[in-house]
Amino acid sequence: MIQGKTGKWEIIIGLEVHAQVTTESKLFSGAATSFGSDPNTQVSLVDAALPGMLPVLNKKAVEQAVLTGLAINAKINRHSVFDRKNYFYPDLPQGYQISQFSDPIVGEGEIEILMEKEERRIIRITRIHLEQDAGKSVHDQSPVSSYVDLNRSGIPLMEIVSEPDMRSAAEAAAYVAKLRSILQYLGTCDGNMERGNLRCDANVSVRRPGDPLGTRCEIKNVNSLRFLQQAIDYEARRHVEVIESGGQIVQETRLFDSESGVTRSMRSKEEAHDYRYFPDPDLMPLDLDEELIESLRARLPELPDKKLQRFVQSLGLAADVAGELVADKEKADYFEPAAEGRDAKLVANMVRKDVFGYANGKGLTISEVPVKPDQYGALIDLVAGGTINAAIASKVFNEMAETGKDAGTIVAERGLKQVSDEGELETILDTIIASSGQQVNQFKSGNEKIIGWFVGQVMQKTKGQANPKIVNELLIKKLTSD
């Protein structure tokens, strides 16, 4: 809801997500799909639309789309059709995009998102269809020319279309994040928004609660969750202002400018579109047999929701902790082997502090962290076995990451072994107590908290290596004796 001058307005959001299907080769040609190569070096004669070139469908792309459909409990269409969407643009070599219009490969499905206070929302999926990506035009190289790179031309995309079921920018972001994590679990899209492998078109409109839908505007190609929310909030507020000041919203395509944080009309797209869709005569209809669909269903991996359930129910993790671990597949992939046969709660807490913290600080993805889960497991065992305490463990982890040495070696070399020997600790305690009459009196006069100060002193003298449990016991014993 937004509060306008004249009252409350409800924001209505529907999303069209273009997800690059993870494949080696393009949707209709044998050119590579990998990122970041020199311009026009991954372009087949088909992708450049040379005369007489013909498309041949990539089986993997079809399977990836079906897999994605199955993961969101969607209807898989046994019969689908590739159509031509006709329009002229310099980075569209054929003069048409091969897409699916009236008969997409995947029909209605749904995705559940989790908002604050455990609120669950179902976002309905209208359809998923397969289509080709276009090339890239660079406009800033010259005042008179645009530079065209066709490396992206023909790359397989899934267009995932939602119903207008989202009511806030936060819900839209949660939906995209959830969708992205599902795609990553499936391995059907890497979800990399910076590289444009996952792009959002947002359809935004506003209405009085209970009224019919208002006129919508489409914000094209938003490539980060932050921008998505900014764009939606800006656009919704713009609608309210226009309507409240007696104006009218014109249905149009708009672009989000991340510098200024505003959306602006795309003049070039203003010319009324008439895409003249028709079935591509170079390709017959695509018919899928039940066996293929079932064999793909059998290949479905454990998805985020199931994993979260398991983490909470069988591993006893708190819902929010489990939520953080499953949201990013790489985090779950690190945590699980590390937690194998260990105290899951201890592992979860340590991993989040040490590993995720380290990755964050260094700007690495979790899989790029040099310390692998099994090496990290050895460190956890040292903590669990009382050899070192958690605070020391963090130091050891950082050193493991920098030097590549294993936990045991570092603990031994640096003598970080925890001091649990009572005799040794008692001597240390006695000297401290002897020289801290004031604090002792405070304790005797009922200030229990002062215990913490004593523990601190012991940790200083033992470089943090004292076993806190034993230190506490001894302190109580000594301070309360006589």
């Binding site: 013909l54 041949v56 006709n86 310099p90 003249r276 017959m284």
Partner: protein, 491 residues
């Protein structure tokens, strides 16, 4: 022995194997003929050096007993087939001086079978026409002229250059493509054999597309046997064309000489109506009698939707063409005419690059696909197309082949129909139905009109039954008892 340029492919094949002449000599004779007969404008690009290279290489292979099915045979290639390193234009200004860095699958197969490329033959721009008058490189002349006149006739189209070249001895055979009759109608006009295989028989890869669901490559030759030999080299599965068929390619030539005893031949009533020249219906009667005399059974059949085939074709073909030709935009290859901005560059390039007929068909195709008209025109046409195809399925329950005229008229005078579109379109009235149904069909020269012009009859068989097509074709050829040579002012 007849002049080398008068031989059939089969005769040349025997002469070469008997060492009566070399591929080099055979090729040189054709290069000479090609150069001395430029008045026909049959070739838009002559490639004599490449031809001699091919021929010498062929003679060497023969020395090593590596002998392909077209070993040393000089052929013309319709300029709709992309030829690696040789300008390919579809006879349109918009492709300008385009030189493909790749070879079409069909011509690659022919070359692997030993054929020798003499050059690229003329056609209607983007194969859109029935007279070869829409070519950017100018009209092609039919080597035939009405007896006692020096009237200049069209060769038919769109494969007019190939038809004229084969008829006049400028090659032993040539490739054509047929979308609505573009092989069969010019073959009939020029007195040669023109064959359109089943859709999917020959790969479309590397052939410049006109209407993808209709386009098929096929052989243009002087005899049915030559047609069978050449198709054998052209046909075959190509993984790069999703519409290429995996059907086994039989030995077509092997099907010849077996007669037609017991075959059931259908005569469709509907083909009698509609502007058909009495001489041609007369020849049609004669043709069915010939087949009857050779032991075939003649059966009257009906193809009820026939009259709707042509209007159906003139919706579907332009619709597909309007999209297929969108890639000619002046951005990546071919002609670019710069305007003040991108849109103007597009519009100028395509206005200057395409000729009037191509522009007209792109406009029609764009219109019938545009919002509000799709159902009324395009979808309607696709449904009628289905009915037309079902007409044939029904007919083939009772017959093995169908006999019809190829064209309602003999070759006509250059320029005489260019300003009456519908009249021009009607040339394909008998050839279009088989195209829409994707069926194989062949035109065989069966006689001369009263003023001495060649006339062809068409045979249509079920999908992938080219064997029967050739058998019946051979029967007509034998009965006609001649292999026509052009008589007229042109050669």
């Amino acid at each position: 022995m007849a002049a080398l340029t008068e031989l059939t492919i089969a005769e040349a094949r025997d002469g070469l194997s008997r060492k009566e002449f070399s591929a080099k000599e055979l090729t040189e004779a054709h290069i000479k003929k090609m150069e001395s007969t430029r008045i026909l404008n049959a070739y838009v690009l002559e490639t004599p050096e490449r031809a001699l290279e091919d021929a010498i290489a062929s003679d060497l292979r023969r020395g090593n007993n590596e002998i392909g099915s077209l070993e040393g045979i000089p052929v013309g290639i319709k300029d709709l087939f992309c030829t690696e390193g040789f300008r390919t234009t579809a006879c349109s200004h918009i492709l300008d001086e385009f030189v493909p860095p790749y070879e079409s699958y069909v011509t690659a197969r022919m070359r692997a079978a030993g054929s020798v490329m003499l050059g690229k033959t003329n056609l209607d721009e983007f194969a859109m026409g029935s007279s070869n008058e829409t070519s950017y490189f100018g009209a092609v002349r039919n080597p035939w002229a009405p007896s006692g006149t020096d009237q200049i006739l069209v060769p038919g189209g769109s494969s007019g250059g190939s038809a004229s070249a084969v008829a006049a001895g400028l090659c032993l055979g040539a490739t054509g493509t047929d979308t609505g009759g573009s092989i069969r109608q010019p073959a009939s006009f020029c007195g040669i054999v023109g064959m359109k295989p089943t859709y999917g028989r020959c790969s479309r890869w590397g052939i410049i597309a006109f209407a993808s669901s209709l386009d098929q490559a096929g052989p243009m030759t002087r005899t049915v046997r030559d047609s069978a030999i050449m198709l054998g080299a052209m046909a075959g599965f190509d993984p790069h064309d999703s519409t290429s068929s995996k059907h086994v390619v039989p030995d077509f030539e092997d099907s010849l000489g077996k007669g037609i005893k017991g075959l059931k031949i259908g005569i469709p009533a509907e083909y009698r109506s509609g502007g058909i020249d009495p001489e041609i219906s007369g020849l049609w009667e004669k043709g069915s009698k010939w087949l009857k005399d050779q032991g075939a059974q003649i059966i009257d059949i009906t193809l009820p939707q026939t009259k709707y085939a042509l209007p159906t074709y003139y919706i579907i073909a332009p619709a597909e063409a309007s999209s297929n030709l969108a890639r000619y935009d002046g951005m990546r290859y071919g002609l670019r005419v710069n305007g003040s901005d991108l849109t103007e560059t597009y519009m100028k390039t395509r206005a200057e690059g395409f000729g009037p007929e191509v522009r007209r068909r792109i406009m029609i195709g764009t219109y019938v696909l545009s919002a509000g008209y799709y159902d009324a025109y395009y979808l309607k046409a696709q449904k009628v197309r289905r009915l037309i195809s079902e007409d044939f399925e029904t007919a083939f329950k009772s017959v093995d082949a169908i006999l019809t005229p190829t064209s309602p008229t003999p070759a006509f005078e250059l320029g005489s129909k260019s300003d009456d579109l519908i009249a021009m379109y009607l040339n394909d009235v008998f050839t279009v139905p088989a195209s829409l149904a994707g069926l194989p069909a062949i035109s065989v020269p069966c006689g001369l009109s009263s003023n001495g012009l060649p006339l062809g009859l068409q045979i249509i068989t079920p999908a992938f039954d080219e064997i029967t097509l050739f058998r019946v074709g051979e029967a007509l050829e034998n009965a006609a008892g001649w292999s026509p040579r052009p008589v007229g002012a042109q050669v």
